[in-house]
């Protein structure tokens, strides 16, 4: 499976996102995001290894706001 970086912006949503992914059985780690999401500046996100559709399903289920999902390494 692909490694993704889910950029949530705020640390609060990053933690919610990480917990939701872990609760769904996926590994997930918090990571600082610098100058991402259309150059808006710093923020936070979560690195996970998961199917992109599954990620979107989990984020939607837990009502987690995010700015962008990037393939890690892009």
């Amino acid at each position: 499976m692909q490694r993704y970086f889910i950029i949530t912006g705020t640390i609060t949503y990053a933690i919610k996102c990480r917990d939701a992914l872990r609760h769904s059985g996926y590994s997930a780690e918090l990571k600082r995001a610098v100058n991402v999401g259309g150059n808006v500046g710093c923020g936070y996100g979560v690195v996970t290894v998961c199917d992109i559709n599954e990620i979107k399903k989990i984020l939607s289920h837990y009502a987690i706001r995010y700015l962008q999902i990037k393939k890690e390494g892009d």
Binding site: T10, I11, Y13, R32, V40, G41, C42, Y44
Partner: protein, 387 residues
């Protein structure tokens, strides 16, 4: 010190709260939600855990709805000044603290139409009717204390919440005196904004406040660094960071978390019952002291928070408090920052003496308070010839 000024702030904090504050400085001393290093992330995670506990305690939809503020007063200001615009109608109760009345008066000068709903003591239905009468077509917000900090009168929050929901009006509750003492569920009670003073009923450190926000706040009063969207010149949109500019009070917030744990371990219901029993005991004792004028009714379950206001005939409220302080008894004498209430009670010139027990107070302490008050009253007997 026998401390009966818990309505101002709880005088004794649980050891677990003190330990949590200490631990925060030993183990998590970093700027939460700012850096990418482990210490910053760990600090942010600890704060998130507290948001989760607070959300559960007050029935908030999510952790993001829990905003940490420097005080309950700051939370109230954020809401009132962040939402209301000229020509909007604002209804407040006649028992509000200056934390509500002062921003309300400032907004009135800026064109907000301010109305006061008269609280009818010990008559919840009549009080709700007062709110109904005060609400006008342009009313955008209703602000109501959950319980008076002077009389302990508990307001019919659920009924007022329903009224606001039916009329699509923003409902703000000042729970400074009740959070941790009376059950509160923001969703069940239709509360849009709940303002909390965790250093009181949640036994947290002073300098902490909580705002539970179920609606957006258009204008953010305090802008600045949030650790997110830092290249932009505007605040982030997402709560709670939108409202939390500046370095968070990590020791205070972790103290809030320990305070919530303490309250949950005792049980809100049990705390209320225990405090109310002691309040009743003190009330009955006060009635037997010659020269005591009581301004609060006999405390009843569900109708009163653990607060008693009284005066000793012939002595000012501040003098009575001063005399008690000589015996190492802490009570509050004066207006308690609630002039509207004192106008209603007819005590605006001199205020009242307020006794407010908390979970740590004992019957022995109450006996010492009553004995000392009786002694003061006996020494002050010439009052009999004054009137």
């Amino acid at each position: 010190m026998v401390y009966f000024d818990n309505a101002a702030t709880t005088g004794k904090k649980p050891l677990s709260v003190i330990k949590a504050v200490n631990r925060s400085l030993y183990e998590y001393s970093a700027n939460a939600g700012r850096g990418g290093h482990k210490a910053s992330i760990k600090a942010a995670e600890e704060i998130f855990k507290v948001r989760k506990k607070v959300a559960l305690l007050f029935g908030a939809s999510g952790e993001e709805n829990v905003i940490f503020t420097p005080s309950c007063t700051a939370a109230i200001n954020y809401v009132l000044k962040g939402i209301l615009k000229p020509n909007d109608g604002l209804v407040i109760s006649s028992l509000e603290h200056n934390s509500v009345t002062r921003p309300a008066e400032t907004l009135k000068k800026m064109g907000v139409e301010l109305s006061v709903a008269e609280v009818i003591f010990s008559d919840k239905e009549a009080t709700v009717r007062s709110f109904e009468r005060a609400i006008k077509p342009n009313t955008r917000m209703v602000v109501c204390t959950h319980a008076s900090n002077v009389t302990g009168e508990v307001m019919p929050i659920e009924q007022i919440g329903r009224l606001c929901k039916d009329k699509n009006i923003i409902f703000v509750v000042d729970a400074a005196q009740t959070a941790g003492v009376l059950p509160i569920n923001v969703n069940k009670m239709n509360i849009d904004f709940l303002c909390v003073a965790p250093h009181k009923g949640l036994y947290a450190p002073m300098g902490t406040g909580i705002l539970i926000a179920n609606k957006n706040i258009d204008t953010v009063l305090v802008e600045g660094g949030t650790g997110v969207n830092s290249a932009l010149s505007v605040q982030p949109e997402a709560f709670p960071e939108r409202m939390e500019s500046g370095t968070l009070n990590l020791p205070g917030i972790l103290g809030v978390g320990a305070g919530v744990d303490f309250v949950l371990s005792k049980g809100v219901e049990k705390i209320y019952k225990s405090e109310l029993e002691l309040t009743k005991y003190i009330y009955s004792g006060l009635k037997n002291i010659s020269g005591v004028i009581l301004y609060t009714p006999y405390p009843e379950y569900g109708n009163n928070a653990p607060v008693i206001s009284f005066n000793l005939r012939g002595l000012s409220a501040s003098k009575t408090a001063e005399l008690l302080d000589k015996f190492n008894i802490a009570v509050r004498g004066g207006l308690h920052c609630a002039p509207y209430t004192h106008k209603r009670l007819g005590t605006i010139e001199d205020g009242t003496v307020r006794i407010s027990p908390a979970i740590f107070n004992t019957k022995n302490e109450a006996d010492f308070l009553l004995f000392t008050l009786n002694s003061i009253a006996m020494k002050n007997k010439p009052y009999k010839f004054k009137s």
